[in-house]
């Protein structure tokens, strides 16, 4: 069931009234059933994988919880009778056992993800190298697996860090892992927030309902009017790397930037809006990312939950891990600067390699991730240079013009990196990017734009859409836009909502006239 389907709207239309009419104490059960229906619609294989995740994470979290309890009891009993050294030894013994449970569970869950993501690639490779039968070509990611695996693992690690008690009721854990709005495009969430919110009773609130409806409508608006429209041209450009070179690559970069933004933020708006419809607050995933002044700022504002997850569960643990610290110490004699940089450099590179791998099994994604990491490290190293420049020209660098330049530079830079996302091989991507500087074909570009599968009216509508998205982002800087609409009264909110729905119905790309396309970001 995709968001942009009648089935999904019907599903919501049935769920929401039932959800608010049943007694509060079984509300969560209704939601769990809804999740089951949603998962079931996507196919039995996905349901099987999800069940494995729920079962293993539940068992592991309960096991770890029991170990923590025993560890505390044992240590408390030892306090009077044993030395500090002995107690430490006991603590480490328990921690080792906890870690063993944790790792076993991670192996299973990341194993599924790995096999699904890389199975086809490994199968092909093994066929080429060892002349075995090719296998795994029919493996495909099941719905939401990248998102809920990460959320579940986060939960388990939090239990092991003693930040959470393990949920005792497996159905309640299942409710968190399978929460349906998050299975299409995320975001990745935490049990502490979403999991707890899912379990508390929710009373219908008309104002919140209208606010949620506005957000969902806006999500569909961005997706159906802007993203699905631009996607046609983007696919045409990416599909013929030999033809579309030079200036076309810049066009592709910009269209893809707009398309991806509209698609991904639109999908997240729908997911968070549906959560709000059910009274569940879900973490934000974007904070006007294209207004960032540097790539590292951009990554704090784009796909926030993924970045936070990597930071919390990979980047920091890795950079303070024993081997990393040992490595850092061992390089001290080369110089303090080097030694201090070892953890941060290695962790950054590794996290970005993993982020790339999370996005796709293609080598292009790995390179894309690594380049992101390198750009971030380089800009960190260049900070003193910038600081000197800022000190030298304080008036210029404080101006809106300079900030605007920094924003444009960042968008261009990240769009350049994203080229890797568009092509199937790294060579194609680099060659396309190179042609931007060697092939001067603006006449051809102007003549070729109308033949990318979009009519003049499509470009006009997409442009209006982009301008509206820009205006909304600008307005958001002064406060939540829906709140401001709602402050003008119910009638004003309903008007805005109907206007959004009406324009989607008229200008959206849906139905038989258009190919039904899917969210760009849901293949992860």
């Amino acid at each position: 069931m995709h968001f942009a389907s009648w089935a999904f709207l019907l599903f919501l239309a049935v769920l929401v009234p039932v959800y608010y009419l049943v007694p509060k104490r079984i509300q969560w059960i209704v939601l769990l059933l809804a999740n089951a229906v949603f998962v079931g619609f996507a196919g039995w294989l996905g349901a099987v994988f999800m069940t494995v995740t729920i079962t293993t994470v539940y068992a592991a979290s309960r096991g770890i919880d029991a170990l923590i309890l025993r560890q505390r009891k044992t240590l408390a009993a030892m306090k009077a009778t044993h030395t500090k050294e002995e107690r430490k030894k006991t603590r480490l013994r328990f921690e080792k056992r906890r870690r063993a449970v944790l790792i076993a569970c991670l192996v299973v869950n990341f194993g599924i993800l790995f096999v699904l993501k890389y199975g086809a690639m490994i199968g092909k490779l093994s066929a080429e190298l060892f002349h075995t039968r090719e296998f795994g070509a029919d493996l495909a990611l099941t719905m939401g697996i990248s998102y809920y695996t990460f959320s579940s693992v986060g939960y388990l690690v939090d239990v092991n860090r003693e930040e959470l008690f393990a949920e005792k009721n497996p159905c309640k854990l299942a409710l968190f892992i399978s929460f349906f709005p998050l299975l299409v495009q995320g975001p990745i969430t935490r049990f502490e927030t979403v999991g707890k919110a899912l379990l508390s009773p929710h009373v219908f609130d008309g104002r919140r309902f209208l606010s949620a409806a506005l957000r969902i409508a806006w999500g569909f608006w961005k997706k159906l009017i802007v993203a699905d429209r631009l996607l046609v041209a983007v696919l045409a450009l990416c599909g013929a790397p030999g033809t579309y070179r030079g200036g076309f690559v810049l066009v592709e970069m910009l269209l893809y930037a707009a398309c991806l933004y509209a698609d991904f933020t639109g999908g997240i708006d729908i997911a968070i809006g549906v959560g709000e419809l059910l009274g569940v607050t879900v973490e934000e995933n974007f904070r006007r990312p294209y207004f960032s002044k540097s790539i590292s700022e951009y990554w704090r504002r784009w796909h926030i939950t993924l970045g936070e997850w990597f930071k919390r569960y990979v980047y920091y643990p890795l950079s303070v891990s024993k081997p990393m610290r040992a490595l850092s110490k061992s390089t001290r004699r080369i110089g303090a600067g080097v030694s201090r940089r070892v953890p941060v450099y290695l962790s950054t590179i590794l996290v970005w390699a993993l982020t790339g791998a999370w996005h796709g099994s293609n080598l292009t994604f790995l390179i894309w991730g690594l380049l992101n990491g390198l750009v971030i490290l380089a800009s960190e190293e260049l900070k003193p240079v910038y600081a000197r420049f800022h000190a030298r020209f304080p008036r210029l660098t404080a101006s809106a013009f300079y900030r605007g330049l920094a924003v444009i530079r960042t968008v261009l830079l990240l769009s350049s990196l994203r080229i890797l996302d568009c092509y199937s091989t790294v060579g194609e991507a680099f060659s396309a990017f190179g042609s931007l500087f060697t092939t001067w074909n603006w006449g051809q570009v102007a003549a070729g734009i109308p033949s990318l599968g979009l009519a003049a009216s499509d470009y006009a509508i997409a442009l209006m859409g982009v301008l509206l998205m820009f205006a909304v982002s600008m307005a958001q800087r002064k406060g939540a836009i829906r709140e401001r609409i709602q402050r003008r009264g119910t009638v004003a909110s309903v008007c805005v909502l109907l206007l959004l729905i009406g324009t989607i119905l008229l200008f959206g790309r849906y139905g038989f006239g258009f190919d039904a396309s899917k969210f760009v970001y849901s293949r992860f």
Partner: protein
Amino acid sequence: MRKKLLTIGGVLLCCIVFFGALYALSRLVAPKYREALIEGHLTGEYYDEETDHDVLFVGDCEVFEHFSPVVLYNEYGITSFIRGGAQQLVWHSYYMLLDALETETPKVVVFNVLALKYGAPQSEAYNRLNLDGMRWGGAKIGAIRASMTDGEDFLSYVFPLLRYHDRFDKLTAEDWRYWFSDGEPVSFKGYIMHTGVKPATKTPTPPALSDPRLPETSMAWLEKLAALCEEHGITLVLIKSPSIEPYWYPEWDAEIASFAKSRGLRYYNMMDGSETGVDLSTDTYDQGQHLNVIGAEKLTRWFGGILKEEFGLRDHRGEAAYDADYAALSVRYEAEKQRLSEGME
């Protein structure tokens, strides 16, 4: 309290304006089938009929361009209507008849068998062409469900805006002209007139049939059509109208003939010009695929004789209501013939 009422009133007003605007837009973007693709207008024209019909033709272009109800009345006094449409498949025809049975029961239903070659829905465009004009009811719902191709959804038949919203940048003068008015009919009781002459020159070279039998699904629908007629005491007559393309295989012809025999139905293959008088070197406007008005009138005269003699249909001439109806139609019919043939020169 007052404020609450104001809010409710405001929201209601918003909704009324919203749905009103959607309705208007929906009408605007829906194809009008008045000047281009006029076949799409045929289905709806049946509902404007003021008199009933002894004969209903159902089928594809080989009925709505090959028989002239005007001639059938003026020469034999037989009242008729053609419920045909472009590539109207057999289940379309079944539901067209079911739909007509809501308001009248003809004595004879004539079905052209060419469409039986298609056992599955062919194209979304033809579905819309034939079904959009149908009035809502069990027949339309059944027809839609039987016809939908992959990717179509039922809701877009209920709300045409969902289907045609992509036409907002392709609107023509026709769309604005017929936004809220339907205008004159495009047909003469379901007959669409062509006056050109473009003789059939080539002999068809059909590829060999991989399966000599007509598709099972379409034959099953033919069974249903026969059963429906039987149930209502209607005589079903099967015909194969003259044309050289699409090719009508002898194997198919034999299958239909044996089907007709087993059900006690009459089947007329009209492909032989020496019997009907239709001459595809003069009586076709597109090289033998469809008849022009000369051919249609010849064929109608010949078939009218059969209808009168074999099925004992009454001569309604002299009955005031029919006379008035057909007199007015004849005037329009002759004028159209004149207009079209002048346009030719």
